[in-house]
Amino acid sequence: MSANNLPIEKHELVIVGGGPAGLAAAASARESGVRDILIIERDSQPGGILNQCIHNGFGLHTFGEELTGPEYAARYIRRVQEENIPCRLGTIVTDISRDRRITCISREGVSLIDAGAVILAMGCRERPRGALSIPGYRPAGIYTAGTAQRLMNIEGKKIGKEVVILGSGDIGLIMARRMTLEGAHVSAVAELMSYSGGLKRNIVQCLQDYGIPLLLSHTVTNIHGRDHIEGVTIQEVDEHRSPIPGTEKYYPCDTLLLSCGLLPENELSRAAGITMNRVTGGPDVDESLSTDIPGVFACGNVLHVHDLVDYVSEEAARAGRSAARFLSSGQDLEKDTAAVVLKAEGGVRYTVPQYIHPSGMDDKLTVRFRVDNNYRDRYVSVYFGSERISRQKKRVLAPGEMEQVVLTKEKLLSYPDTKEITIKLED
């Protein structure tokens, strides 16, 4: 019993979130021998945001075929069900303590769970309109792209006929096509930056194929309509992202969708006292995807925002294996060596993981990163200390596409004095 007279359950591994990351982590933890796993999911069904992504394009890397979001989710849901891994639905975690006590809430009441290990897989959320401080009114008819996607694809609702989209994140691009297919007219996608944050294939398949203009270096500078949105003013911006006077253009619309970035949803991680990374918005992790609280791991979009779900699944599987290893050893065996710090420089915005214990590495370690601009014909170089140990030519690098380098344990162990690994772009 706890201090406030509530019973305490015990589970070996608790996974917070039953989306693609949580499901893949559960399946892999079971494969690695963890018997007592509990997935906690706030929605009424597992699968997370994939359930509303009814377009195809998921799973090329994992399954070698193009699946829709629900189909991709279904494969992992089936695995989890076949393994009899319980998924507690309609349940939301409200607190995780440093000693891995989890408080959660459902229609049944408040439950307290002591977990041997925890995997954070809460996903991410969209940057809202308010955070953008767009001048104008606050009428109905403004949605983040994901909310609009849910209303259309899950709830079967119609939201508008004349659409402007601000931001060219992937969900915005997908929704441009989706709304067009539903009979709406999408007059423009305005993007503040000089490049899109979305995948190239989405720009081609969702905008270009439908003749929807992508206005780079443009933003919405006024919202018109007091009760319901009636239109927006779009303006070109200069290199400091300031609107250029005289470039105002009025676009009538009944719907404004926002796709201006995704933010890892880390309220629980922050409240638990986990050290966070300013660039990714997720926890700092090591090669095992362990946060700085022993036994608490993170994977998927709560760790850093991914472009492809396939990478989420792969990363989550690693978190599942790591949690299994932690549970079987009872401690972080790999932490017996000092950590090597990974540094992102010269056009590389961040890396995941942020540090590595060489002794704890698998034979190969995939380090993922994103770049800060569009680049052509650059080398991605890896330095151990001041010595460049590899470089790889890339024809195109874009902020919307996640990149990776693979480090080998063998190589790293042959440089035992390495304290820093730097990943950077070079001419």
């Binding site: 406030n4 809430i105 009441g109 309109r129 955070a131 104008g136």
Partner: protein, 494 residues
């Protein structure tokens, strides 16, 4: 009671904090009270978009209604917030001075505060101020601390007044816009209004109370030749995430200028950080848009007080309009040519702070009028009959785990979290809708229980909250509005 239902003792126009407070004070007497509000809910105009603070009362000129009612209202707040169970915190305020040559101005403000009857005023050096508030600018040379100032939830305060008035018999009708006020005979007014379906309706009443806020000039001018003009004065604000909410603990003002009290930096009673307002006279009472210029102005001005405001954590911006008049003071009471018509007009800052005292002040005058003119006995109800307490909105997330567990076991909807950012359940949303008067729009829910008020600004919870509202009101989701009709969130099926 076998009264003629068609004659009201008081028709109050406007269900902002002023109208609701007057309704609450009047409802303690045996009177038939009807509140007409042109929007769909209480607290939909000036009351919903302001600094959400209870001024100590040193700003207004000594002897004015603003000064008297502010000081009195601020003194009523601690007890009132307990009885009516709405969030209020006496966090104290500070007025900053950045230049030696302005210090006499601050001292004059201090003297005025003393003259106004404000307790708990202290002048201090810049260093002493920074000891209390480490985030203050190094430029601060002198400050005045006002320990009786506070922060409040204006939405819940207005809802509390309205619910308490309703509990004591006052009736509310929404989406009713008054279009004519005429003298029916020497003792009665005929108030004509357009109802929710666009039909004209009339009501006879012994008194009319004009608490129409930004439209108080329109209502006043319907009955009086002494014409009034309200100049909507816009103020823009930014709300920052709760992660920034503890940057300061006091409400931080700058020494007032001719245009207003300057830009403040304050924690809100819910733990966010609030920056604003500027002051700009605008042409219409509907211009609640924010502007790039206005936001830039408040951002840079606030930095003078607190240089480390983390604007990256902004979650939303909003603009409110104050009902400014050239007369300067609140306009309370009967115009010389309209007996029985009571203005509560020109209620700009410190209207929120003054509202509890203002309600009592006008209610007494209205009751005296009714008694003296023999129109009504306006009997003060037997004390026991008056409902003096109200249960505030449940916030399950603030309960200890075992109490929350017990609540969920009683009503499982409290275990269904709809708004993750603010930790608001379906049970709380139901509670907001089932009040009298209750929420009928998305904004109405948001203001009462904070669903959608958090950092994601209703991204995740909109579909679920919309479904609950539709179910509770018995309407299709396509008819659910953000606020007034015309703000439907979804398209109707063709």
């Amino acid at each position: 009671m076998n009264k003629k239902k068609s004659i009201m003792d008081a028709v109050i126009i406007g269900a902002g904090v002023t109208g609701c407070s007057i309704a609450r004070s009047l409802s303690r007497y045996d009177l038939d009270i009807l509140v007409l509000e042109k929007e769909e809910d209480v607290c939909s105009g000036t009351s919903k978009a302001n600094s959400a603070i209870i001024h100590a009362g040193f700003d207004a000129e000594t002897g004015t209604l603003k000064a008297k009612l502010n000081v009195k209202g601020a003194k009523m707040l601690p007890r009132l917030s307990r009885e009516l169970d709405f969030p209020y915190k006496q966090n104290g305020s500070m007025v900053l001075c950045f230049r030696r040559e302005d210090e006499p101005g601050l001292k004059a403000l201090y003297e005025r505060g003393i003259a106004n009857g404000v307790e708990g005023l202290t002048l201090m050096s810049g260093d002493e101020a920074r000891k209390l508030e480490p985030a203050l600018s190094k430029e601060v040379t002198m400050a005045m601390l006002a320990s009786t100032a506070g922060i409040v939830c204006p939405f819940q305060m207005t809802a509390a007044f309205a619910e308490n008035a309703a509990a004591n018999g006052a009736r509310f009708r929404f989406l009713t816009e008054v279009i004519r006020i005429e003298k029916a005979d020497h003792s009665l007014y005929k108030v004509t209004f357009r109802d929710a379906s666009g039909n004209e309706e009339e009501v006879d009443t012994r008194t009319v109370v004009n608490a129409a806020g930004l439209y108080s000039d329109v209502c006043h001018n319907m009955v009086s030749e002494d014409k009034l003009e309200v100049i909507p004065r816009r103020g823009e604000y930014l709300i920052l995430d709760k992660t920034a909410g503890s940057l300061v603990s006091h409400t931080i003002f700058q020494l007032p200028s001719a245009l207003g009290k300057g830009v403040l930096v304050t924690p809100t009673v819910h733990g966010n950080l609030l920056i604003g307002p500027n002051a700009e006279d605008v042409g219409s009472a509907e211009e609640t848009n924010i502007t790039a210029k206005g936001l830039a102005e408040i951002r840079s001005t606030a930095l003078l007080s607190v240089p480390s405001v983390p604007y990256g954590q902004t979650i939303t911006g909003f603009a409110g309009l104050r009902a400014h008049t050239k007369r300067g003071d609140f306009i309370l009471g009967e115009p010389a040519d309209a007996k029985g018509f009571f203005d509560a007009a020109g209620v700009e800052s410190p209207g929120l702070s003054a509202s509890p005292a203002l309600g009592d002040y006008l209610a007494r005058r209205i009751v005296n009028y009714l008694r003296k003119s023999g129109l009504s006995k306006a009997v003060h109800k037997d004390r026991k009959e008056i409902v003096t307490r109200r249960r505030g909105f449940i916030h399950a997330g603030e309960l200890p785990a075992d109490k929350r567990d017990a609540l969920i076991r009683k009503d499982p909807d409290f275990g269904v979290i709809i708004c993750r950012c603010e930790n608001i359940s379906a049970g709380e949303i139901k509670d907001a809708i089932r009040r009298t008067p209750g929420a009928v729009s998305m904004d109405g829910i948001k203001r009462r229980v904070r669903q959608g008020m958090g950092r994601c600004q209703a991204g995740f919870c909109t579909p679920a909250a919309m479904a609950i509202l539709a179910r509770e009101l018995g309407i299709p989701e396509e008819e659910v509005c953000k606020n007034r009709p015309g703000s439907e969130l979804l398209m109707k099926e063709e």
